[in-house]
Symmetry: C2
Subunit: 289 residues, 2 copies
């Protein structure tokens, strides 16, 4: 397990289902040369309503699998799993084998602390994440002066997975969920669930233009890049000097594996809603009308 | 032209090439039910080095085409084109036909003003955008007290299009480009080119963790959603009451057309680097090692 970390090894990413794909996509955006091994735990997800002990067991099972598959880094792309098992996975892989472990909570908390002016930060997440107090703890650890106001938004995930991101229903739901945060006067809002970036339009609309949204998915991706770069663990890129940039330097598509412990068809269908296969055929146009 | 705006009509998006796809993707994320008609002006792009007059002509040609194709909104998904032609396209379509026109500059400027604590904001963009002074003007219009420090990053686009987003070369380039902004002590940095979100990892690494990045692509997408919602121009979604959410309510894939005035194969190849066809086959796993 973990005897030799190769720069060409995949980045291991896991989630209870498809939500972590927003993290995977952000990582692929920033690191298009990296191999990816994504595991969605469809058989056991969603983790939100499960006890923390059980989520920890699931996380260890998947973490061990990713390490056995040779992954050079482990990304817990799920807030509930990060809350339950970030520390134990760090001890298990990072301290023992020097395999860096990333959660989605700490990067978002650091960004929110850098962004807030008023010192009042909102966090929206699933019931499980809110109840775990993981965001409160993470803020307290870094800056004791921040006032954290959390709100559980249990029904958001359902709407995202059904592709309903606009309209009267989701707007009404968002108004209800976000009202206490507005009353508290937060100026920064952490999207503490990997599904929520797909709702950032409706969330921004309801919370108002003066509140800055922080996506844990994007912040985590930037963290992964920074740490892998510092540890010299990034996949090799073109070695050409920049003067010689040619078509040869164009990237080759690395292997990205998506696995699920649940139903592959169901995963693929949901995944399309997250990531799509956006550009199919491109047609030439001469702008004639 | 524009005689009847239908909610089912496509959102028209254009750019000098593929960079605007980051805007298109952000719009699709937030509005998965919308039809999209994207035009990349490969025959005339990149716009960066061209005179503003000429960019304005290109913009009008494409804008007219999009309106003739029945688009219910026009998104100028290019900073150079926004700088050169936002006002004229607003007059031409919004004032005359009530077709909303969006640029990528104003939404990012509003977000940066809401985010900065020090009042010192950095803007990185192409040479053309920086020279146009469009960001300076947009900041001045909304808040005269903001100190704007701009830096042209002419070679970033090339690197993004070649898929080179990490490594010594791009790191060195970013260090050079961003040094004046660091010296000026900006606490917020606008990514004033639609290619740059794909470099947010290296940019964040170089500029440091305390600076908040603002993506014009994401902010524009949120603006499009808000305005179309306010104008009741969003595509119809499921009409079911939320208690009856069933598999029937699952979204159907709307038509998304991608057209280029240049070489379709070249466009498709570059587009894949921006958007990918990320999730292909999904395999079932039982986590056995």
């Amino acid at each position: 397990m973990g005897e030799s970390l190769s720069t060409a090894a995949p980045i291991g990413i896991f989630d209870s289902g498809v939500g972590g794909l927003t993290v995977a996509r952000a990582i692929i955006d920033l690191l298009p040369h990296e191999q990816i091994l994504y595991v969605g735990d469809g058989a056991n997800g969603p983790y939100g309503p499960k006890p923390a002990d059980q989520v920890r067991e699931f996380s260890i099972d998947i973490g061990d699998y990713l390490v056995d598959q040779g992954c050079k880094a482990i990304v817990i792309a799920c807030n509930t799993a990060t809350a339950a098992s970030f520390q134990i996975l760090q001890e298990r892989y990072e301290e023992r084998y020097d395999i860096p472990v990333f959660g989605v909570i700490q990067p978002a908390v650091r960004r929110a602390i850098a962004t807030t002016r008023s010192g009042r930060v909102g966090v929206i997440a699933t019931e499980g994440t809110v109840q775990s107090g993981a965001y409160d703890d993470a803020f307290r650890l870094l800056n004791d002066d921040i006032e954290v106001v959390s709100a559980a938004c249990p029904r958001f995930v359902d709407f995202v997975e059904r592709g309903i991101t606009t309209g009267r229903q989701i707007l009404g739901l968002a108004e209800n969920y976000l009202a206490p945060l507005q009353q508290a006067g937060v100026d920064t809002l952490v999207l503490g669930c990997t599904h929520y970036p797909l709702l950032s339009g409706v969330i921004q609309m309801v919370i108002g233009p003066d509140v800055t949204l922080v996506s844990s998915s994007e912040e985590t991706a930037k963290d992964v890049m920074r740490v892998l770069s510092e540890k010299n663990l990034l996949a090799p890129e073109s070695k050409l000097p920049h003067e010689a940039l040619t078509e040869d330097a164009v990237m080759r598509e690395p292997v990205r594996r998506f696995e699920t412990t649940g139903d592959p068809e169901r995963f693929a269908e949901l995944a399309r809603r997250f990531l799509g296969s956006m550009v199919g055929n491109v047609t030439a146009t001469t702008l004639t009308n």
